[in-house]
Each structure stands twice: as C-alpha cells, then as structure tokens.
Symmetry: C2
C-alpha cells in the first residue's frame, strides 16, 4: 500500500495503474474510519483492480461554529484498516496541498441542499461537492463509493455527477450499524457512555416512522409527530430536524405517495448525529 | 473527420484515441467560426495528435434578454473550416443531449466575475464555467485552447481549472483582428456596413489607452476618460463599460502599478462587442 500526500504523485501512480488497464475505484473519506467506511472500502477492493482511499478533513465543508478543529484524526489506525482490506493507495493531502490559494471556485447543487442538513449547515454541501469534484479530478476513478448514511450527500453527489457529466459511477452502500442499531459515524466518538446509550433514539425514532408507514400511515405530519414523541423521551437529545422528503429532489412531502427518505438530525452532547431510511410505500406513484 | 452528437459516442471515440497514446486537444466553441477560432483550431491541430472542436450554443450562458435565439448558426461552413484544418472530431450536441434534465449543478468562480462583462451579464460566467466543466468531463482533453479576446472568460476558466484540479492545460491564444483592427467575433455578423465601420471605435479606444500608458500615464481614471472621449466621437456606439483591472483577480485598479487588463464593451446596433489589451507597465510591481 502506497501513501501519497501530493496531487502530482497521486496522479502519476494512478495513471500507471490506468495504463496497466486496471479499474480504478475510490472511497473519499475524512478518516476516523469505522465499520461503515470499511464496508465501502471492502466493496471497492472487491470490485476494482486499484483501490484509492482519500483521507482529508475538508475545511470548506465545516461552518465557523462546527467541529473542524476537534474532528477525530486517527491516521495510523486508518492506514492499518486500509492495509487490511487491500487498499492500493491512500491519498492523504494537507490543507495547503488541496487549497494552495484562496479557493474561489465552488460547485453547488441547487434545490437538493435546501432542506435536511442543508438547512442548518448552509455551506456544507457546497464544500462537499467542491472537494469531491477536486478529488475526482485528482484520482480519476471509474467508480466511487458513498454510504447511504449520508443520504443527502449521496443524492447531491449523484446529481452533481449527472449534471456535470463527471465520468464516475457512484455506488451507494447501505448504512452499517452497531449491534443495537446506532448508525456508525466518526462523530459517535464524541459520545460518553450515557450519551451513547441515548443516541439510540435516532434508530428508535426511524423504526417508529417505518412501523407507521407499514401500518398504512401516509401523512408526513403524523409520522414526524410520532417520531418527535420518541426523541422527546430521551433527555439528552435535542432535535435539529425530522423530515420526510422525496428521494430524488429531497423536497418535503405532505403524503408518502412516492419513494421517500425519512431523515433526522439530533444533537446529543457535542455530537450532531444523523440517520435516515428510504421507504417506498406500496401503491405510491413511482 | 468524425461528427458526433452524443456524449456516449464522443467518449468512445476519444477513449480509443487515448488508448492509442494520442494527445487529445480541445477547442470549445459556440460555432459561427471565424479566423479567431481558426487560429485556436490550427494551434490545437499542430500541437495535439487528436483535435476535438465542440460546437454548442450554450443556453445557460445567455440572459433572458440576450441573443440566444438569433445567435449565428453556420454549421456547414464550421465543419468545412474544421475539415480544412485537420480536426479529428466535431462534437455538436443538442441542448437535450447536454441538459437532459433541469440543470441544478453550477460551477461558479467568485470575485473574477464581479466586474467587466460579469456586471452586465450576471449569469454569464456561471453558465460558461458549467458548460466548459461538462465539455471537459465529456471530451477529457489534455489541453484546451481559448482566445485572449474573451479575457475575463479565459481568466475565470484558468482559475476554475486550478481550483478544481481539472487535469487540463489551458493555452491562451492572442486575439485575431480584421485588417483595420476590429477583433474577430461571431457577433460582428450583426453589424451593417456603417455599424461595422464604427465598430472600429473599440480598437481605437484601446490604442488611445495604450498610448497613454506608454507615455507614462498610470492613473486609471484619466485613461478611462480619454478612452470614453474616443468612443463618444462615434454616434452609433454606446458604452457598456471601460475598465482597468488587475490581470489576476480582475479587480479595478486606481493606478497601473502591476500587469493590468484594459477592457471595454460597447453596444453598436444590436451587437455588444468586447475587446481588451494586457498592459504591463514598466516599473510596476509584479
């Protein structure tokens, strides 16, 4: 496994693999790798001939009041996890390498970022799209892997790739959960044991929502109200949002008559956790 | 010479050339090719092994009151000109091919679009950057050629390519002029003989500005005032802007103490014409 820090060296090594006819796969990450990342990496290594993991805590996707400074950095164990899965190349650039001068160019996807996390993190997806476009331009992968856990990010990146004709195939991977149902997240590290226990409220609320849909409930407001009730039972949880949106343009729906995303964000201690589930109610319009 | 209309076919043909180790060059155009385009194309064909000219009148860079509908379309003679220069591939997609669904993703370069043409055409450079990013993603050229005539466009595309790490080298080419000095432009076709005669005011004003710089004048306001005087002598000319900006971030400068762009846009009849010249006054800071 090779570890590169410069764009130039990364390009050279990947170009060599490409000349050898290898299929290049990429898993963009911010490090602090957990089982969710490992699932993406494992799939990449299984499906591609040359697997690149990028590790870069991207400052342009953090708001001024967010956790850029204290975001977990676990480079040594990240490398170990990648090595174990058979990754060929880790690209771990510095901030100066990625942003050598003031960044003036932004890739923005309208509409899909209006709700959910985009509402409370207004610059977030602009930063994500811009850095993912940069990483794709540096690595030039044929396929790239993203987790369904970050559902809005996934939808926005898919749209960016389609709209800009970026020659990359985006492969979504299911959310990986702890044994009790908590979605894996680098930010789970922020939780103390009691917060960790109460973090289960996200999964519990989602399950409540899904049960209601299964039992025939199609009214978004009723489902959201029931999910709010679940969260309120946990004293350490503070809701950022609970939303039901269509799965394509991520616009709020009043009735679940098409494939929808039930999504929520909840603050627990200093951690802001997100989770979601796709529901495709029978009898709905496709 | 091959002519393609679909993205898929274009990608296949270029991929084949790439596999053969050929250096891919690209000249993005909106067609209505004139000697300025031919100079770009000739250089592309001379420096690359496989030359692609794209012909696409991009609707997203036209404002609602602008000349999208009547923009000159001369496909047959464009093809003839390309064939003569030895172009390998013309990619001439339809609007539906380039924008199969509502485009939600925009590439925007901050700051460099604030002044000059960006002031009177607020959506213009967003549309240009987005379509150029798309064309680069479709064609995947190693080098691309742009004219210095569209100086702001050139500066913005260079910045986009740098900021987004797009693996393309941008090669600027000098403005090509008619015998009397009028910069070649597809929009010169809009001019009747009297308008054509008066269109020379742009070149005349630029020359006046350059003379002043050569004679030691460093005050932007004085140079702009003198250039305005020149334009005012031509009754059919209406000034959009005359500006002096630094050549990197295209911000107005009060004093010419670094490399600067003297640029202007003038309406003559239904045509809006632009021209510019780079000046690098001796003794200025670099």
């Amino acid at each position: 496994m090779i570890i590169t820090e410069t764009i130039e060296q990364t390009r050279e090594i990947v170009a060599q693999a490409r000349r050898e006819g290898k299929k290049i796969g990429c898993v963009p990450t911010m490090g602090a790798l957990h089982e969710g990342h490992v699932a993406l990496i494992r799939r990449c290594c299984g499906e591609c001939d040359f697997s690149v993991v990028t590790i870069f805590v991207n400052p342009t996707q953090f708001g001024p009041a967010e956790d850029l400074e204290c975001y977990p950095r676990t480079f040594e164990s990240d490398c170990e996890a990648c090595r174990k899965e058979g990754v060929d190349l880790i690209f771990a650039p510095s901030v100066t390498q990625m942003y050598p001068q003031q960044n003036l160019t932004w890739v923005n996807v309208d509409k899909l970022g209006e709700h959910l996390c985009g509402a409370s993190r207004p610059m977030f997806f602009r930063g994500v799209c811009t850095v993912v476009a940069k990483l794709f331009n540096i690595v030039g992968p044929e396929v790239a892997y993203f987790g369904q856990k970050d559902a809005q990010q996934l939808a926005i990146i898919k749209r960016m790739v389609a709209d800009l004709n970026i020659p990359v195939e985006i492969r979504p991977c299911p959310t990986v959960r702890e044994a009790d149902g908590l979605a894996m997240s680098s930010r789970n590290r922020y939780l103390n044991p009691e917060q960790r226990r109460q973090a289960l409220c996200l999964f519990e609320a989602l399950n409540r929502g899904v049960q209601l849909v299964i039992s025939g409930q199609r009214d978004s407001a009723a489902i959201i109200a029931a999910m709010q009730e679940v969260i309120k039972r946990w004293p350490l949880a503070r809701i950022d949002y609970i939303s039901i949106v269509d799965s394509e343009l991520l616009q709020p729906v009043a009735h679940l008559d098409r494939p929808c995303l039930i999504a929520l964000a909840v603050h627990i201690g200093s951690a802001r956790l997100i989770d979601n589930i796709l529901v495709d109610p029978p009898g709905g319009k496709k």
